[in-house]
Symmetry: C2
Subunit: 212 residues, 2 copies
């Protein structure tokens, strides 16, 4: 019994680099989303992908490498063209809507984002900031125009709006998860109702009143 390479080799799984890579990436996404970077185990990713661990190192170099790839894959979504949505109000609405669906379409993304936000890892943080930049630039431009046209109030603050948007969406999806895991259904809170409220809050920060 030499234990030599009598490959088990399921006939179903072809030797397809592209597919293997994709499987690894998919598995890594799930594992990183579940456990965070520090909590994720390389072996767990490999096992989940039903791929030999060695392949991770072949394709992605190291654990950091596949983590970055996972992030990059999600974050490289281009938001909007600069000159779309001439109407600032419509543009903000579209941005909010886009961001909300970005998270709702991909539950793992919200968790990855949250882990990344917490983690002190400089590189991951940098990726995150860089990827957020286009959307933030777009928002900044829109708000500037809105202020100029008098649609928004003069002290509207893009970073404040962005923080609010991210916080509420992340909180919605994450606590949502926690509740789905804990209770039966999903609380009495529909996505539509949440989005309604989100619009209100965001516009309150842009065009809102003075005091409480």
């Amino acid at each position: 019994m030499t234990g030599k390479a009598r490959t088990d080799h399921r006939p179903g799984r072809a030797r397809d680099a592209q597919a293997t890579r994709a499987a690894l990436l998919r598995a890594a996404t799930a594992v990183f989303a579940d456990d965070g970077y520090a909590g994720a185990r390389v072996d767990a990713i490999a096992r989940r992908a039903r791929v030999n661990k060695r392949m991770i190192y072949a394709y992605f170099g190291d654990k950091q490498g596949i983590y970055r790839e996972v992030l990059a894959a999600r974050l490289a979504v281009p938001p909007f063209s600069k000159d779309e949505h001439a109407d600032p109000r419509a543009a903000v609405t579209a941005l909010v809507r886009w961001y909300f669906h970005l998270l709702s379409d991909d539950p793992a993304f919200a968790r990855l984002l949250a882990w990344g936000l917490l983690s002190g890892d400089a590189h991951g943080r940098a990726i995150m900031r860089a990827s957020a930049a286009p959307a933030l630039d777009f928002l900044t431009g829109v708000i500037r125009r809105g202020v100029a046209s008098g649609a928004f109030r003069s002290d509207a603050n893009p970073e404040m709006i962005a923080t609010t948007l991210v916080s509420l969406c992340l909180g919605y999806f994450l606590q949502h998860d926690a509740m789905v895991a804990a209770r039966g259904p999903r609380g009495r809170w529909t996505d539509e109702a949440f989005l309604e409220g989100l619009y209100r809050v965001v516009f309150d920060g842009i065009a809102g009143r003075g005091a409480a």
Copy 2:
């Protein structure tokens, strides 16, 4: 050179179990807040506390043990007595204010909370939920009374309000951190302004209007 126990033994450090325990707890709080449970290293906690690692096991059993203690220490803050604040509006304001200062007074707490919220660890999650229960109960009662008296609208949802409150505060403090680390000052966003907005948002969810 036997390497035997020629104890370095700084004469300054007394043998004071209470103090050692406290030092460990303080260090553990910082480390867990920085790196999360999975990322935290027991040795790092011991080193930071300038206490021998063995003491962690003597006082807290294991890593989980000291983690639980750290959580419990922060979360065992009793919120409000049931019958305070006869006026529902004032009660909600007080609750929001209390929660905000809970986090702002202790930056580590916000991070611990966020890590705990993300982590799949059943026990930590349970602790967190249990500790949130009193405040949530208080809020539920207040809202029920407010609805009965007509001060709040009938479909006001305590869990929705709570989620919103937590999301916004957590987001505020965490992204705040991220920004302080990245940029110079702290963005143009004062605690007062944030609180103002927070009141508005919360009351909007309780007594707000109909549509966007």
